[in-house]
Symmetry: C2
């Protein structure tokens, strides 16, 4: 429930930031829709909610007929969850446990694990590690995971944001240049040796940091490619430490600008092979006019854009790893070559990005 | 040198935020002015710079004639400082040491400690703790500190910011209210038990967090009062853990709004009693049209403002403590009663603020 108003993920303030409240609200009940209508999966079962936040998914699980719900929350939000459970008279079913899933103990194994663990571009925050831990410790061999599957997608996009960012970077370097001049002339210290590291720092900040964006579908200029598929029932931490894929995308628009990549994810509620859900539910965070989510999309912008056209073929080697400094943040690399319909090959070029 | 472009204090990005670059630049050379013209204090002496950042104060110390400068920096910025020292051909005088002042060892005691340790409202960041540690470990008994003294000030102010903040708070509560209604009607969960904690969280964020502001002098509506004076040569950590003062301020404007308090600081370069500087230098961060600094002022806004007039007498009990969650952040309380010229007494009212 990272997107929920009182959640710890958004920090204490709750106000401001780039989250569109309407979008967030839509997403919130989107989350809801996938659980509430799956009663048959929950009736008379024991459920574990990993990172319950305000406790809303745990409450819905109880309302959907779960026999017992263990709602685990590492932060002080657990107190609010407990109050909410009591106010809705579900204290006999929902037990809120304050603690890390890695540390706590449950009195029994569970039939179902639910969790809203997805970060930007699916894996940011690395919270799925905790879900894996919960699964390995507390899920019965016959148990199911909600969501059961997750996929990461990427597509070439056009966007005007890159020019803005480049403008910001250039302004910053102009200021630096004046600063170096004045420091030398007026104060006798030559700062020019720091110009290169300063430029690198600013480039990383303005040009190599991926951005949250709510893309319009018409900003997607080529076919969408699958980067990664995760089976939540079997994936290990090792499986998600690195994402690596060689993908292709065909440009679908005539004479346009290939400005970078848009990345998003979807998750599915499929149950398990021997015990499938009656109706498969999908939550997608793909570009959409009507159904935005607070996750939006992550955009990775190139400077400058490249002219492409209908039928041009992008061949992209993608890799994403956790940051050494903070394992909840990511670094992504795109190596791309373009086979144009004319037969001309634009040789491989590379872009590195930080998902902060 | 926390205000310097490459500094760790402003985070990696360097861009954006509320810092006015022109203001920042002015401040930067303001810092400079107090050291460069004090050559006589530095000639042939050993100097320690606590938290050297890019190394600029250490370089100026060397240029001003110091025999040896130890420039201590806890972050990776030390590498840039080393490069800057070398580029200015001062590597024989300035030795950059990467490490915490609490951990490192110097080959000798020093005659002078310089440091730009001042945070918002002087004490935010609690960096003076490290300067005290440096002084107690490495300053000769006859040594001097730059700056040598610091003072905290407060004055009643008028400001339009409070209404904005109140508007933001009210919008946020309206949205919450709609959210509670919809969650109940459409999804069967009663969230109203969380309305009070949500309101408290939002109040703290919008109404009880002090704000960075560049006050215009005409926003100050009463006399300025001294909250604290620190002698950098003798102060202990215990002396600065808490700031407590009973102060008075006379309103100097007719029929105006007492919207809250503005807080700022100044520091002085006075040497020591037996060894005073030839010319005392002051760096003030008081409201000013011409000489803004990146520190600006901290403003503490009340909701709603109180009508006051020329000659009204404010009696304020002030206290400031470190936050339990983060010792580098502060919590401040103002208890105020107003003796009006008419003789009427507005009884004591209290406001608590978080300096985040």
């Amino acid at each position: 429930m990272g997107s929920f108003a009182n959640s710890s993920r958004n920090g204490g303030g709750g106000g401001g930031g780039s989250v569109d409240k309407g979008v967030d609200f839509a997403q919130y009940f989107c989350t809801y829709s996938f659980l509430y209508h799956q009663k048959e999966m929950l009736c008379d079962r024991a459920v574990l909610d990993v990172g319950t936040g305000s406790g809303i998914l745990a409450i819905w699980s109880a309302q959907a007929g779960a026999r017992k719900v263990y709602a685990v929350e590492a932060t002080k939000m657990a107190e609010h969850a407990r109050a909410l459970v009591k106010a809705n008279n579900l204290q006999d079913v929902v037990e809120v446990i304050e603690g890390s899933i890695e540390d706590i103990t449950l009195p029994e194994k569970v039939d179902v694990i639910i969790s809203e663990w997805m970060g930007y571009f699916l894996l940011r925050e690395s919270m799925f590690d905790s879900v894996i831990c919960a699964r390995d410790r507390w899920l019965k061999p016959t148990g199911v995971m909600y969501p059961s599957h997750a996929r990461m997608w990427v597509a070439p996009i056009r966007s005007g944001l890159g020019e803005h960012k480049m403008g910001d970077y250039e302004s910053s370097m102009d200021e630096w240049s004046n600063f170096v001049d004045e420091t030398k002339t007026d104060y006798g210290v030559d700062m020019s040796v720091l110009s290169k590291p300063f430029s690198e720092e600013q480039k990383k900040y303005y040009l190599q940091t991926s951005l949250w964006n709510n893309l319009h579908p018409n900003q997607v200029i080529g076919s969408t490619a699958l980067l990664k598929e995760i089976d939540c029932l079997t994936a290990t931490v090792n499986d998600i430490l690195e994402v690596r894929a060689d993908i292709r995308s065909s440009i679908t628009l005539e004479n346009t600008r290939f400005c970078g990549y848009g990345g998003w994810f979807d998750v599915h509620f499929r149950g398990r092979k021997e015990d499938p859900t009656q109706q498969e539910i999908e939550l997608t965070t793909a570009p959409s006019v009507d159904y935005g989510t607070h996750w939006g999309q992550q955009v990775f912008l190139m400077h400058p854009p490249i002219h492409v056209s209908d039928g041009d073929d992008l061949r992209v080697s993608f890799s994403m790893n956790r940051s050494n400094e903070n394992h909840r943040l990511m670094e992504a690399e795109f190596h791309c070559e373009i086979q144009q319909t004319s037969g001309k090959l634009i040789p491989r070029f590379s872009n590195k990005f930080y998902i902060e």
